[in-house]
Symmetry: C2
Subunit: 169 residues, 2 copies
């Protein structure tokens, strides 16, 4: 993909390098494709069965893991999917009685967002369906291969984190 | 994650099922995490080194693979990342002389978008850097594990595609 071809005398080493780079790129595109396919499927099933967007589901999922509530900033940072308007989604959930938003006594400027019991119930109903959809999407992989994939992705996560950290340093 | 616990007499089979579901969900979250980390890193490097957004890079990359040009609708469908405004990006690239947009003689209502030679040159410069960044992000995985990961993701892609197709049917 580089616009500068290697000089003929240096082909061997550079073409091996270019080949490795190209492999990593193909691996990245495949990873992105898988991730996009699963995301699109989950998105359309959430819409169809619960009239819910993925960012809204994601936001409720973060709150369900933190019964003590989360500050708005922390909630934004924890979101797994991008592109949702966290404040707008929270406003709507408050209006529907699924979430409360209150300023804690020790910091009146910070808002803490929490699921209400009705919000938790609504989320758990969706979460059960979501888990079953994901299981079906991944069902073509035998359990042993799912475990291998999980382990390789753990290594990849470490690799990416280490590389991104050294990049930022 | 389901709100209905299995009845005691049926625990065995259902808890195995629930365990498998939960494993698939963990695998999905790990896949999404890896994909998001790589995407965020690439996004910030494109911004820093080329003042370019990821959707703009993605759009130019689709055009580079299709020297004959793509219709706007087809271009939108081929985008790998979501959230970009394809028309807005194309407008801007036309303004910068990196892309042409012309109605073909046989269908005056359809616009065909193409890279100009300057656009292709600008893209290839970014693509070379991009490939090297991705190689660095994945460098923590030995070549043999990268190949395993590639093969497992191919199976996953098939699994997801087959499941999404039967879902839609």
């Amino acid at each position: 993909m580089s616009e500068h071809a290697p000089a003929p005398g240096r082909v061997d080493r550079e073409s091996r390098l270019a080949h490795g780079d190209h492999e990593a790129l193909r691996l990245w595109l495949r990873l992105l494709t898988c991730s996009s396919l699963v995301e699109a499927s989950v998105r359309s099933q959430l819409r169809r069965d619960f009239n819910c967007t993925l960012p809204r589901f994601d936001l409720m999922s973060q709150l369900e893991r933190h019964p003590e509530g989360l500050r708005m900033g922390e909630l934004s940072r924890r979101m797994m999917v991008t592109g949702g308007n966290v404040t707008g989604i929270a406003d709507q959930l408050v209006k529907e009685g699924l979430v409360t938003r209150e300023a804690p006594p020790d910091d009146r400027r910070a808002f803490v967002v929490k699921l209400t019991p009705a919000g938790r119930k609504a989320f758990l109903r969706m979460a059960g369906a979501h888990e079953a959809w994901v299981a079906r999407l991944f069902a073509g992989l035998p359990a042993v291969e799912r475990r291998q994939l999980h382990a390789l992705l753990a290594k990849l996560k470490d690799s990416v984190t280490a590389s991104a950290r050294s990049e930022a340093a």
